[in-house]
Amino acid sequence: MLLRFDERVIGLAVVSLILSTLTVLTIAREKVESPLEVLRNEYPSAIVANQRATFSFAVVAREGFEDLLLRFSILTQKTLRPEDLVDPQRQYSAEDDPEEVLNNAVKVAWLRNQTEWLGIRPEKFSHTFEFQGIGCRMVLWDYSSILESLSGQQLALRAPLTYGAILDENGGHYYFEGESGFFFIPQKNVVSLSIAHNTDQTGYLRDDEVRPESKLPISQAPRGVLNYKAVKKDDTFTVTFTVDPRAFPASFASTPLPGRADISVVQVIRAYLDGVLLDQPIINIMA
């Protein structure tokens, strides 16, 4: 017997087909804005001696990755003496390339001289921002990653391999030096540090304040490089630390020159997803 379908049944079947197809296509075409979303990036506006300050950084993975590397670097402004400069008479204008400030530093020139012939090149980044109403252009050179892979992480993490220079709109120039790490001279300045992957949290305290049953000593904390494998969608990563700056690096430039922006410390946070830098580094400027 030939089955005769009611037109309403056919209509219902067609509507069901279209709706389920649209539903599946909608799910299939779901797009995430950014594969890694910054949930929190808090830092103090100024670093003041003997005054506690807290940094907090959190991200969530919006999709899965094989490899996530978070690299924290901390740079401080340095006052260069004439003997630290290739050309002590060098003047800058607002139109100059900030790289020229780096090229004029003896230390950077020496490092370039020692590494270029071996094919070792730094990672380079540029950043434009306004601080205290003054427009600034910044460059960063970082030898950390390449020298970590060639000389070993333990050696590279203990040398100042990150350099920065800023030229402001008035032609003022600033030189920065730093290394991988959450904060400079961590064993003296970091009061507490917490690193968490989802609910798996590890805490660190000053070496002389550690109790055996609780946290680990700061001296055993990672030096600003956190590497996670097989990251799943919606995994969260949080780093929180409190500093009480008591010791400052040699030649630390704590007093701004007249007409210059008061920039003392620069924190750089980079996220590498499967080896590729996510956008540009996050650069936090502090007085």
Binding site: R8, A13, V24, E66, L118, S145, S149
Partner: protein, 322 residues
Amino acid sequence: MEGSVALVLVLGMMAVIVWAPTVDMRPTVFLYSGTDSGFAEMLASVLEAAEGIGSDVRVVTKPDLLALATALPHTECVVIYCSNAAEIGDLAEPLSAFFENGGGLVGLGAVCYEPSAGQLARRVFPVRANVSAQQYGTGMRARNYTEAQDTEISLGLPDRFQLVSMGIYLSGDEAGNYVEVPGAYSVVYRDEATGAPIVLTSESDAGGRSVALPGVWVVSNSRVDAYYGNLVRDENFIRLFTNSVRWAAKGSVHFSEASRDFEAKIEEANNKQARLREEAQKARERRTVSRVLLLSGLWAAGLLVCAVVIKKVVLVQIEAGF
């Protein structure tokens, strides 16, 4: 004719491959002697003239450059002479890391003295010196070296010899008498007057080597007997110093490990991003295929449910006369 052109092209390509520049990474010894680089310059000349070293020799005039040198792959050995804490600066951590990660070091003077060098005098140059025996008065200021054991460092040297010096840094009691501190080190020569180690070697678990020379204490004034220029002219010092550098440089592993397959490592470092990106792309493709299969399954299941509902609920009611 075409065959000849092809042959020339192939030969040309082969020539390019054969002549492709390769990195000749030579081992380098870096020397630093505090604010007065004159002593380091003279020590560099000694090394350049010595047989069996065969490394490039570079003098650095600032402690921060020496810290950078410890992070370089071609650094084979670091030679450091300091006379006070200010000259050592923040070097303790990078030099300790260099030693503990397979580097070679030779330390002279106050780098063996705990009040000036801190952990360097404990971990790298484990003299653990807490007192200094400085010589005053008339007569030539010198230390007498007496052999404690026959090693590569004492090769070609007499059992007993004298070197000009202002004094020695040693581990001692309140009266300044030598007190032996147990530790993982070997004494090659002892100071005759105090019995304290005056040439001491140490090795780290990762293959680092250090030689401590706490009896090298010199001045920059050429009118003084303990002038460093007088020391570097002494044949016994030249042999002691070059033997020490050779033992530390050639026996430590940092350079040999960093230079092994160096070009491949550079290429790997440069290609790491591309490789990780490729792996990630493959992983993403795998995830996409899984997702499409899952969604297709869900879609088919949904359609099946629709068909069942139509047949069992809607058609039944229509056939029943609604």
